[in-house]
Amino acid sequence: MSDVSHEGVHRHPAPTGFIRKYIFSLDHKVIGIQYILLALAAVLVGMTMSLLMRLKLSWPDHKFALLGTLFKAGAPDGVMNPEFYLSLVTMHGTIMVFFVLTTAPQGGFGNYFLPIQIGAEDMAFPTLNMMSFWVTFIGFVVILAAIFFSGAESTVGPIGGWTGYAPLSALGAIAGPGQGMGMNLWIISIAIFCVGSLLGALNFITTLLNMRTKGMSLMRMPLTCWAWFTTAVLALLSFPVLLGGGILLLLDRLAGTSFFIPGGLYVSGVLSGTNPNFPLHTGGSPILWQHLFWFFGHPEVYIAILPGMGATSHILATFARKPVFGYRAMVFAIFAIGLLGFFVWGHHMFISGMSPYSAIAFSVLTLSIGVPSAVKTFNWIGTLWGARIRFTTAMLFAIGFVSLFVSGGITGLILGQSSLDLAMHDTYIVPAHFHLVMGVASIFGMFAAIYFWFPKMFGRYLDERIGKIHFWVTFVGVYCIFVPMHVMGLVGMPRRYSQFTEYGFLNKLHPLVLFVSISAIITITVQLLFYFNLVWSLFKGAKAPDNAWEATTLEWSTSTPPPHDNFAGVLPTVYHGPYEFAVPGAPNDFVMQTDAEVEVSSNGHNGHH
């Protein structure tokens, strides 16, 4: 398969005009950078929202003059009102999950490096690729519109959380502030995003299966490619379900259908069917929405983190100067996680009112997914065993990823048990768990990726001194933010409360809440250093050679930055596995995949000695 000629299928001439080169580009590298820029913009919005949330939680009655000026309705006199807080919760989650954790790892780095790493000149369908970015971009514009069109409701968007549980999300303005136009736009934005992701997924799968260069057998692919491929399969199978669910939800709101709204509801003093603002609904199921949402939502967690896992394996091996430990097991583990990821969505719904028998099945399957996750962790530590580690910033973030993935993932053993969920569900241990693992660990994977690949993309290294400060503060900071949230959950602190002033049993947690807020403010501030580093290094960073890190895979065998068709007209031939470091008898401690001169006994096919 790998030596099938695919010339002519995808080849397109290098564009000359500014618009075709940088805006409506067909070049996967430009599109990848566009996705990364989108994520960098979105993460600023999402992070600012989390900052505002922390201000509200720690100083619920303080008058923040600036906020009073900016959000006259949402923060009159500078005191944020509850619905404003809840809209921040909703938009923070939505923007982070969709426009950061799904765009940067897959659309961004995947787009840029998957074709190069398998030795292709571009994606299989360049026009589709361009469309997938611009569709996603429109989705982002619409979600921003949801912020501004909600101003009159004293919110910055809907207030139903990123999960948008029906019927709160389905009833419309009658259910309270934040349920009007902003909610419609929220659903439309997500529907658009689903379409963009589907287009991207088709492209990734086709490209990887059909366009590998000569010698690039599946088991010689870098683990990043395996991760992007599996992620694309997950996206292909899960986004359509969310798209369908979103359309039904929109119909409930706008066309008077009742997919998720049962009969006999009495909302804000009005019975369904007795008032033009609240038409007659009957026969819908609120739990149906949860099934549709989480059938997508759980695979989405792996969509967010699998590319980070791939990048971590890739970068660990490079700077450990050692082959990845158990390459074959790593591939199987990625697949096992992807497959099991489709059978565990019910663990979000133990106490939703669904059948208690299915809860048992979901619980056992959920804990099973810990097995391939543990296998990956063992292999990462195995990769470092006997290594000669070079502590670059990229490597620090990759090691940080492993640490955070363990810390965040392991509490899944608690939350996955239906019995324990009786106490844990919807308390702070849940955000603690998923922020560490799908949020922060994934982001660490992306930080590792950008420090690693920046020199290939732009010909200059990111500044290592700034990078290291960025790493140290962020690494310690995220632990300070999220570890205390676990014990808040044990005490029973519920999520999505705009303030903790109403309950006696929460009083003893106030010092922890303050500690978390201060840690968050510091950690968020330090991210500005990262943005500064990106801009400064783009112009002033140290110049990087073609193979910036003495690495082995194909992206390092082409020039920096790669030419329009990636390999200047000559597709490379691959002779080795992806991580041939420290090969005995080889002239250097790394053997590039294209190096025909050096004999490698294992040849990368058999993962084991």
């Binding site: 309270g176 502590f391 324990l420």
Partner: protein, 282 residues
Amino acid sequence: MGRVLAVIIWIITALSVLMFVSKKWWFPAAISEHGPALDRQFLITILVVGISFAAAQIGLGWMVWKYRDTGKAGDRGTYTHGSNRLEVLWTVITAVVFITLAVMGQSVWAQLRLHDAPAGSYTVEVVAQQFQWNFHYPGKDNVFGHTDPKLIDDSALNYVGLDPGDPNAKDDAVTASLVVPVNRPVELRLRSKDVIHSFWVPPLRFKQDLVPGMEIKVHFTPTKVGKYELACAELCGQQHYKMRAFMLVLPDEELNAIRVMSQEQFQARMTELLAKYPTVID
């Protein structure tokens, strides 16, 4: 650099473990029959979690401490692509441990959720709405009066839609606090008028969503007299953060007296009892 990172990883690990072991912020004391079993399961789980967490972080730190690049020419890492034996070993071990935990974790769940409430349970209808709890008691006759959403009228204080024409409804009481007996099984019939809410009493170790359009029956047995805070645990809108009520667990004599009272007496007595018992918050 490697040594600094190793030390930081170890310090973070130690402090994280300490945060749990110190029990400074911990569960409130359990007040339900299933509570101690749930706490035991949590303890076993957190032990497995804590040991795995610490072992992985210590191991990671050790690799980072020990295996750094010396910069010496010709000094290379160990050339290995892994070991099938190790892969099988750690896959099997983790599978056995995790799946055992999962199976053990079903016992409390099965006891509470796979069986109906025992006959003779004390039954209360819970009707949640934005942002208030309504508790409906059957009164002297022990039969719930007929309710209908069409009869709900918040402005007339008929929060649950009780049918005044139904003789069974005459002695029913609807209040804003939950009273339940101690050491007797309690069955709650959970309903919601508008959006999803969730019944959450931390010391009870019990939580269940109230879903509009459904009546969900759950049961538990409180074991300790006192006044406890009841919180809404599912985002239900603007005032979600203060959708609070009290759950009073009463000794038999107090409960038996109150449950035969008329609405007005019930209400008045409830006010006295709420003042009598201090809120248990630990």
